[in-house]
Symmetry: C2
Subunit: 212 residues, 2 copies
């Protein structure tokens, strides 16, 4: 009995998000507001309150739609039975190629969404946190195989996030897109697995410099 | 005989850049134009033409002043007789700590300059190219010691630029500043030296995936 009203509510909400995206595509993120969405839907402004408490809730809904397929990719990779190194590669590669496809289809649109994400980071944060959560699972599996000796999961997470920023941070990715390839990503993941540790490398390494 | 007019010209030019920086600090980059600089200097607009052909030339001069100490750091590190791994660490660490100092002194100012750099990338490009040039010298020294087997200098350059982006790309750096440390930088440089190669890692590695 509760299904029908629920899905009608969802359908209206999805339609409002469609309209909000059209406004962004046509006139940029600064033109987006609940009043404009209501006007285009032929609804009074108060009707919008059923779906979005305020402008931030609308932006969160847009972010939610944008991240949904990326979350599906992460869940699929983490649930797979690939070895951890290959998992880490796929964890980045599948999202990177999906975002690169969006970029090739419409570079201006991707840049606009990257700007919105930077300006409304609170709408993005929960997805970044979820990405960290899944990456920690892969790191823990790699550690169980003896990788990243001496590092805590949090230390490894931070280092890997930094080393692979170009393949996951949208703002950086669009800046350097033409220099990013799956081949380079594979080499960086291999360097992470072959080289990342807290071991003392003696006179040869630079890690010891900081401890000295 | 040509020295005095030359240095008077330079002194006037430097004073104009001072004024331009004050305008940016007080009212943001969008308020900057040659007319406003001339007004503040009490000069007619035509007088500015001696120093700056146009607005882009003024922005290039501001970028030039910003990058000068970073270029000095790069030259000093490359000319030193440190071993290549340590050189690469210092190449990034000394610029990173200098920029972090600016950030701690005035985070809003550094963000403003990062935005200007993104919006006027042509003013920044020659410095990025110079950084690549010096990094290639360090990479060539490392290769002479047997590092990065199978990679060309250009391939190694691109991979290292990507792996260390957080410590050199100002826009990314200000985004994640509170998670960047010299200790993590040292671990990433060690991972670059221990792990970056074009060697076939067999079933263990992911690099082969792309070749398969």
């Amino acid at each position: 009995m509760t299904d029908k009203p629920r899905s009608e509510l969802d359908a209206g909400r999805e339609r409002a998000i469609d309209v909000a995206e059209s406004i962004i595509d046509e006139r940029g993120a600064s033109a987006l507001n609940l009043g404009e969405v209501a006007t285009r839907l032929g609804l009074p402004l108060v009707a919008m309150a059923r779906w979005f408490e305020n402008q931030d809730a609308l932006l969160e809904a847009i972010a939610g739609r944008w991240f949904r397929p990326k979350i599906a990719i992460m869940e699929e990779v983490v649930a797979s039975d690939l070895p951890p190194r290959r998992k880490m590669y796929e964890f980045y590669a599948r999202r990177f190629t999906a975002i690169r496809d969006s970029y090739r289809a419409d570079p201006v649109r991707l840049r606009t969404y990257a700007d919105i994400g930077n300006q409304h980071y609170e709408a993005v944060r929960s997805y970044v946190d979820l990405g960290d959560h899944y990456l920690c699972e892969i790191i823990a599996e790699a550690m169980a195989d003896g990788h990243f000796p001496g590092l805590s999961i949090d230390e490894a997470l931070s280092l890997i996030n930094q080393m692979l920023a170009a393949y996951v941070n949208i703002a950086l990715m669009v800046q350097v897109m033409d220099r990013l390839t799956e081949d380079k990503l594979a080499r960086i993941v291999d360097a992470v697995f072959a080289g990342l540790s807290a071991e003392d490398r003696g006179a040869k390494g630079v890690t010891g410099l900081r401890a000295a």
